[in-house]
């Protein structure tokens, strides 16, 4: 396992996140859903084909799982990222509970911001731990600090 192989994972993941961002911004999967219905002449209100957009989202998840499985050995070493993303997942769960129980909207929105920030921190943690593990092309000051602390 070297930096080159794992770098491919991050490149693919980066493209995936850009796609997800565009999807959210331009409602791509809903547009694909409508486009397929128009192209194939399907009834947009058909109870079966109406869930095509859900299928597209599920396909995103499947691709992400396949990618994670392919690089599972490298990903298993990023313990800092596991911890931070685990907390982000917990915050999202609380956010869903807040929505379900009709807690104040400000708290729900705030939790969304905190969870989103925590996800970004998770990727920062991954980047920094990669350097500590010697799997990054360029070291970071955290790697130097770690070496200095003798950990």
């Amino acid at each position: 396992m070297g930096p080159g192989r794992f770098a491919r994972f991050w490149r693919v993941a980066a493209v995936g996140f850009v796609w997800l961002g565009c999807d959210d911004l331009f409602t791509l999967h809903e547009r694909i859903d409508r486009g397929v219905h128009v192209l194939l002449g399907w009834d947009p209100d058909d109870p079966v084909t109406d869930h095509l957009d859900d299928l597209i989202v599920a396909a995103y998840g499947l691709v992400a799982l396949m990618l994670a499985f392919r690089y599972r050995v490298e990903l298993a070493r990023l313990t800092w990222m596991h911890l931070v993303l685990g907390i982000a997942f917990g915050l999202f769960t609380v956010m869903v509970v807040a929505d379900f129980l009709h807690w104040p909207k400000a708290l729900e929105d705030g939790l969304k911001v905190l969870a989103g920030t925590t996800i970004l921190v998770g990727f920062l943690a991954a980047r920094l731990q990669l350097a500590v593990l010697g799997l990054a092309r360029r070291p970071t000051f955290v790697a130097y600090a770690y070496a200095w602390r003798g950990q």
Binding site: P104, K105, A106, D109, K112, V113, L114, T117, L128
Partner: protein, 169 residues
């Protein structure tokens, strides 16, 4: 402006946000939510457990209320400017949103970065609080706002130390 836009604007020292939340009486629960979230982020950042996060949140809320009241008192009674017109709600709202940068304390989850995150967010929050106080108290002088914040902070620390000493007994 949405709640999230207000939080980002407050962190970016956007004076329009502070003027808006100062005038919006319905924004007090939003300000409370910002204080809670910043406290939760701080608790997570230091690796505290659930009880630690709850304690940090309670301390954050108490500190917010005490500091806002002190600044209201000092700013409107001792050091007002001719145009100063404020109530405690305005101070609570603007100062609550001023704690928005505290959410970045969650960066402390990453080893080594904790102390850096805390120093950066502490300084950042100090600056946002000064802007919040300046806008809420309708000051034209930033120096006066800094003075009021400093006096308020010193009195707050003294009160908290006193409470701490009483609790320890």
């Amino acid at each position: 402006m949405t709640f999230v836009e207000r939080m980002i604007g407050a962190a970016k020292l956007d004076t329009r946000v502070y003027e808006e939340v100062e005038a919006d009486q319905s924004a007090t629960p939003q300000a409370l939510a910002v204080v809670v979230l910043a406290s939760v982020a701080g608790g997570l950042g230091v690796g505290a457990g659930v009880s630690g996060i709850v304690a940090a949140t309670v301390a954050g809320l108490v500190g917010w209320a005490i500091w806002a009241w002190l600044i209201y008192f000092i700013g409107t009674r001792w050091l007002p400017e001719p145009g100063t017109q404020a109530d405690i709600g305005q101070l609570l709202r603007t100062m609550g949103f001023a704690t928005s940068p505290g959410i970045l304390r969650v960066v402390g989850l990453v080893p080594i970065l904790g102390p850096i995150a805390f120093i950066v967010t502490a300084v950042w929050t100090l600056v946002t609080v000064v802007v919040a106080v300046r806008q809420a108290l309708d000051y034209s002088s930033t120096g006066r706002a800094i003075g009021v914040c400093l006096i308020g902070w010193l009195v707050q620390v003294a009160i908290l130390l006193l409470i701490g000493a009483i609790v320890r007994r």
